[in-house]
Symmetry: C2
Subunit: 325 residues, 2 copies
């Protein structure tokens, strides 16, 4: 077990990271407070596209053959059409919130109506067929063609597909309550980011026992415990405060309604957030990159920011969909 | 341009391949004539699982790090649950055919009702999260972890996801006519396999100009022409004979109803069949394998058999879904 890094650099990183995090929360809050669906959805779109760009840049930096222009085009078109469909769904405007005049048109009455299965299916089909077709023009040099096609597919599924669930969660549930989709999203962001923050703060302060040094040397078991604790704090706290705005959590599974459900879900989300963070570390280590980019001081790139959400957002979405047939 | 291979070996392969093809058509016809959905769907399942096994064997043979046990498990569970959902959908039994007694229960009344989007979405999520989690226990050796995760994902999407559309096509359309799903499937199989056969027969007999020697040395432009011709023959012929059983083709797009639609669709399917065949050649060449397996004399393995269907079946399914909202 290695000793922790010197206190000085740790403290500087801590401060830079905190500043970036606060700035981002301000941005998210602004997009959210605007009650404009396009503002929030646009933020997700920008992060997804920048993260895809970072992924292909890292591949290029490591000398991995791939088809970045096709990958970028697919991610951008997929995101664009998805948002167009989501925002075009009946009552989707306003992130499922009831307008000041209480008009029914601002409610989500028909969740996901605008996004048929064939849309995602066709995107996956293109994510495979496209690189295969492009590869036909190049020579077959050992494993290179297989890896090129697979790396392009991974980029699409990992970033464009998984992260966009951060937008889809808002439109996942029928709008019977006041702000069901909006609150669920807030809950997701809070639990995910409190997990990240909890791990970081606890790990920085009292972290000693390394968790998985060959993947992420900074991670400690103390930080992991803090992550679970902070996730429960955020998940439970938000539920206690806004229970009435989260009818989907109260009327969930028969065995797990209300509080037991919130506690189990908070822990599952925390585990997925940690795994999502480690998964991105695997990608970065494998490609020899320290950060995915340099956009955010103390955090790194866009992919560094969204890595946990890539795993928590889809899981929450599938859970909600599976729970409310 | 290289000379064609010696006539003798060409003729032997031709005969072996023809025998295997006839045997397979007999099997498909038997499964189809049985009018039992599980017989047909079971055939698709077996082929999908064997093809996945072949894929991971080829990866292992080429020394590519991957997670074959997880890959096999995911493909098997995904296929199993998918079929259970498809067969459990209202009126799915009998592949959408009306029973001898004309009972409505054997009609597909609610297509795809049993397969919600979260099911496929969650499968994709697991196809990424699973390999990442398994990878955490292994050391990070250069690009190996990224390629391992990506190769596992490719195996799932390319085979288990794409080929299973050969089963989903049957349940894709509402059962207003007599045998809509059944006829569409027959049409798909006929066009795809006539493309393969047309390319092979024409190429074997008069093929001279190599099409893409670095990927598939046997392919010729004459064979490509024959592929399009045979696809039009099969697609147009079947439509002419069974027009009344294919209401979906007659009431298609406003601009492309009936014959123009069948002709365009036959050509598109032929192109996709050829690309699907070439894509599998890229995989095999890249992994240094001649055939994906040895199950079928003259054809090779299961993946060699289904490679074109992996591209034509999903495309037809998405087209049908997009056409009939």
């Amino acid at each position: 077990m290695a000793h922790p890094a010197p206190d000085n650099s740790k403290r500087a990183t801590f401060l830079r990271r905190s500043a970036s995090t606060l700035g981002l929360w301000a941005l998210v809050s602004a997009a959210f407070a605007s009650r404009l669906a396009w503002a929030y959805v646009g933020l997700v779109a920008i992060l997804a596209i920048i993260a895809t760009l970072e992924y292909f840049r890292m591949l290029k930096g490591a000398g991995v053959k791939c088809f970045p222009r096709f990958g970028m085009l697919l991610a951008a078109v997929y995101s664009g059409v998805l948002y167009w469909m989501l925002l075009g769904a009946p009552g989707a405007a306003g992130i499922g919130m009831v307008g000041a005049d209480g008009s029914a048109t601002t409610r989500v009455v028909n969740p996901d109506a605008g996004v048929p299965f064939w849309f995602d299916g066709a995107a996956f089909f293109l994510a495979i067929a496209g690189p295969f077709i492009l590869q036909l023009r190049h020579p077959i040099r050992g494993l290179e063609p297989l890896h090129a096609v697979a790396a392009n597919l991974l980029g699409f599924v990992y970033i464009a597909f998984l992260f966009n669930f951060a937008a889809r969660v808002v439109f996942a549930v029928p709008g019977t309550g006041e702000v069901p989709g909006g609150m669920l999203l807030l809950w997701l962001l809070a639990v995910t980011k409190f997990t990240d923050m909890g791990a970081y703060i606890t790990g920085s302060l009292i972290g000693r026992r390394k968790m998985i040094p060959h993947v992420s040397p900074g991670k400690t078991w103390e930080g992991f415990g803090g992550a679970i604790f902070f996730a429960l704090l955020a998940g439970g706290g938000l539920y206690a405060l806004c229970k009435d705005d989260m009818p989907n959590f109260a009327t969930g599974l028969h065995v797990l309604g209300g509080w037991p459900q919130v506690i189990v879900l908070s822990i599952v989300m925390a585990l997925l957030a940690v795994i999502g963070d480690l998964a991105e570390s695997v990608v970065k280590r494998s490609l020899g990159a320290k950060d995915s980019g340099t956009m955010l001081p103390g955090i790194g790139g866009s992919l560094d920011l969204i890595d946990s959400l890539c795993f928590t957002a889809p899981a929450l979405y599938f859970y909600l969909k599976w729970m409310t047939p």
